[in-house]
């Protein structure tokens, strides 16, 4: 069974109004269980909208989505996915452990079970010594690791991430990418990952979905064929560079067609 099935999906904001926006048109995408898929494209291509439609934070205006074989709404109610954003979104009045416990609290877990799971997640992101710290006492990279631990706390089969490393410096970012991959290997989590960075998308993903704006749609899906486990050495790998070139060309095609259309419009 595929983790996410999307067919002919469309989303229009403010339909009928003068500021109507066709955010997404005719999107078809199927994501297999355990797969890592990145969504990449220029601003306004609808990649974040697509992620929010899968998360049921938005309702589609056309087409259908299924998550884990359920409607997105049911999947959300069952907490079938975890979510992480560019801002870590940690609650500053809660300790690190209490932040991770929040989704479990809402599921009605008892205190001991919650604490046990929080500690397990902190081990996973290597922050076990920081359980009683407050978020502001942590660096940006550590905060983002807590956010990932929180997203995975209910052991969801699916992880939805919206530019989670976008605000981090390059060094921390590469380190976090490695950490994320190793976490996903251990937990078998399916990931949908929105990013602006081509190397990030290629390094992390089995497939990179290239999108274009006005109206937002998928223009190309690039398969990344890197053999074996991805490590820091992967970044010097020919297949890695091949992937980067393929995605870059797909994105250039997006810009070109835009450019040409711009001329025609005048």
């Amino acid at each position: 069974m595929s983790a996410v099935d999307i067919s002919n999906l469309g989303k229009v904001f403010n339909p009928g109004a003068p500021n109507q926006v066709d955010a997404l048109v005719g999107v078809d995408l199927s994501i297999a269980s355990g797969e890592f898929v990145s969504l990449i494209g220029p601003s306004g291509c609808g990649k974040s909208t697509l992620l929010r439609l899968i998360a049921n934070l938005l309702e589609p205006t056309a087409g259908s989505i299924s998550v884990n074989g359920k409607t997105p709404k049911q999947a959300r109610l069952d907490q079938d996915y975890g979510m992480a954003f560019q801002q870590s979104g940690l609650f500053e009045w809660r300790t690190v452990a209490k932040n991770i416990e929040l989704p479990l609290e809402l599921k009605g877990w008892d205190k001991n079970k919650r604490r046990e799971r929080a500690m397990e997640m902190l081990e996973l992101v290597k922050l076990a010594d920081f359980a009683e710290h407050y978020p502001w006492q942590l660096s940006g990279g550590m905060q983002q690791r807590v956010a990932i631990a929180r997203a995975l706390a209910v052991h969801p089969p699916l992880l939805l991430m919206d530019e989670p490393f976008g605000a981090l410096d390059e060094m921390t970012r590469e380190h976090m990418q490695g950490e994320l991959l190793s976490i996903c290997r251990r937990t078998g989590t399916t990931v949908v990952f929105v990013t602006h960075s081509i190397p990030e998308a290629v390094y992390l993903s089995n497939r990179v979905v290239v999108m274009s704006p006005r109206p937002g749609r998928i223009t190309k899906i690039v398969d990344v064929n890197i053999e074996g486990e991805r490590t820091d050495a992967t970044r010097d790998n020919a297949a890695f560079f091949g992937g980067i070139t393929a995605v870059r060309e797909a994105l250039r095609g997006v810009e070109m067609s835009d450019h040409v259309r711009g001329i025609e419009d005048r």
Binding site: A55, R76, Q79, M83, F85, F91, W93, L106, W136
Partner: protein, 266 residues
């Protein structure tokens, strides 16, 4: 240790030196220019009046202080309850908030004259009502802001956890509003004291600090009036200090500091 002591001295010595110097200059000017006591009393005389009339000043301070405290507590309670109602019903919020802001800007304590007319002339109720009203609007405006201006990421996260509106209120909006409540208390506490004094100028029993100051000036007992002013200053200081300490205790890491951190992280 010595460096901390030095830092403490550096903070405390300049204002103390300035204060003592100011009082000395005051004393010298009054003595040197032989200013008449009905024009300006010297600090030494004010202090003498303060100590000899201490029981009277203390009695008047208790009356005004009680009025301020009762109004502060009742006004805060009403303000918090109303802000919870307003945050729940957007339409109501849009109706009431501009009104509350406008009322905050005008000296509504003149209303006490009307309130005096409604209750017995010896009643403390009009003054307490007036303080309640002033405090109520300060608390309402600030706490309502804390309840509504929550991070959009926090709300999206809670929705992804399938949290109910009530859970979002309890786990996001209320904790977010706590620093706002204590900030509003820091504004409202001195305002409650001021309102309690000024209310006494509009008639009623002659038992509080405000009316004592007025009657002693009317009787040309300038130095005694100043002794009551000193009592009023001390009362205001106590209210401010207690509200500041409360803020420090109630919010780990310090309330204002936390708000500042939040702004930086978003």
């Amino acid at each position: 240790m010595t460096s901390r002591l030095l830092a403490f001295l550096r903070n405390i010595v300049p204002p103390v030196v300035f204060g003592v110097g100011f009082l000395a200059a005051w004393e010298l000017v009054v003595k040197g220019f032989d200013l008449k006591p009905y024009f300006l009393a010297p600090p030494s005389k004010i202090w003498e009046m303060f100590t000899t009339n201490f029981d009277l000043v203390w009695g008047a301070t208790k009356v005004s202080g009680t009025n301020a405290l009762v109004g502060l507590l009742v006004g805060t309670a009403f303000g918090v309850v109303m802000s919870l109602v307003l945050s729940r019903y957007k339409v109501l919020n849009e109706l009431v908030t501009p009104l509350a802001v406008a009322l905050n800007a005008i000296p509504i304590f003149v209303l006490v004259a009307v309130l005096n007319n409604m209750f017995s002339i010896t009643s403390e109720v009009p003054r307490r009502l007036m303080v309640t009203l002033v405090v109520y609007f300060i608390v309402l405006v600030n706490v309502a802001r804390g309840l509504t201006q929550v991070s959009p990421t926090h709300v999206e996260l809670m929705r992804s956890y399938a949290a109910s509106e009530f859970s979002i209120l309890r786990k996001v909006r209320v904790p977010n509003a706590v620093p706002y409540l204590f900030t509003s208390l820091k504004i409202a506490a001195p305002a409650s004291v001021i309102t309690a004094f000024v209310s006494e100028y509009f008639g009623g029993s002659q038992n509080g600090l405000g009316s004592r100051i007025a009657s002693n000036i009317a009787n040309s007992k300038n130095a005694v009036a100043w002794a009551y002013v000193l009592g009023a200053c001390l009362l205001g200081l106590v209210f401010y200090t207690v509200s500041s300490l409360l803020e420090g205790v109630a919010t780990p890491g310090g309330g204002t500091k936390r708000v500042r951190r939040r702004v930086r992280s978003t």
